[in-house]
């Protein structure tokens, strides 16, 4: 039988050992309820939650997104100095950043390969390599 959005949200929280509170469940459902990955800002998720049944305060949206990141459920993506973006997809992959609409989407990663990545300096390790393809209207 079909997996429901609520189930997906519940399992997602459980997989990270996070308490399934009403608010977290509501946000989890909005984020992973359909099994797709999603890119949000605190504001955009807050707006989403406001039009859905379960209201969540903006401060809690912020705190919850941070909690999800710390729990390893999401990643923060830095593309715009003035806002924080969050991505439910956890593997390393390139992004399109649409400069006119300030939207963030996944870039098709299949073909992308980074060759000759420089070694990390002494005593340092590469934590992650971010690739952001900035798009403007042609």
């Amino acid at each position: 039988m079909a997996v429901t959005a609520r189930q997906r949200g519940t399992e997602w929280l459980a997989s990270a050992g996070l308490r399934p509170t009403r608010q977290r469940l509501a946000l989890a459902e909005l984020l992973v309820g359909d099994g797709e990955n999603r890119h949000v800002t605190a504001e955009s998720l807050y707006a989403l939650s406001s039009t859905s049944g379960e209201k969540v305060s903006l401060a809690t949206v912020y705190n919850t997104l941070r909690a999800f990141c710390e729990a390893g459920l999401m990643n923060e993506v830095v593309v715009d100095g003035s806002k924080s973006y969050f991505d439910t997809r956890m593997d390393e992959h390139p992004h399109f950043y649409w400069e006119d609409s300030h939207a963030l989407t996944d870039a098709p990663a299949e073909t992308l390969r980074i060759e000759g990545l420089p070694d990390a300096p002494d005593g340092m390790a590469v934590a992650r390599v971010d690739v952001v393809i900035r798009l403007r209207r042609a």
Copy 2:
């Protein structure tokens, strides 16, 4: 004969058609006076200017960095949601971001090659491809 820091700053401003005011010259000298490229934040440049002879107000540092970017003399690099970084080097090149010290440096670019970059979506063009190698203590 040797090129002075002041000369470099003056020419740098002139090349972009910017008025060489006392403050801009002071900042230009700090940025390109030694012919090296440099990564700064508004605060770090403000701190630098405070220890040098010519004082510049923080607001002017912000406005001036913006002006330099618009004039095509610098680029903004987004690596940390909470601060803006500015780079005097204008060609496309990868960066190291030192997560513990919040420092930004150039990564050796010679060997780096990005293969199979996805096409820009319809009606869009690739404005820039940012590559940030995030480093943490090993």
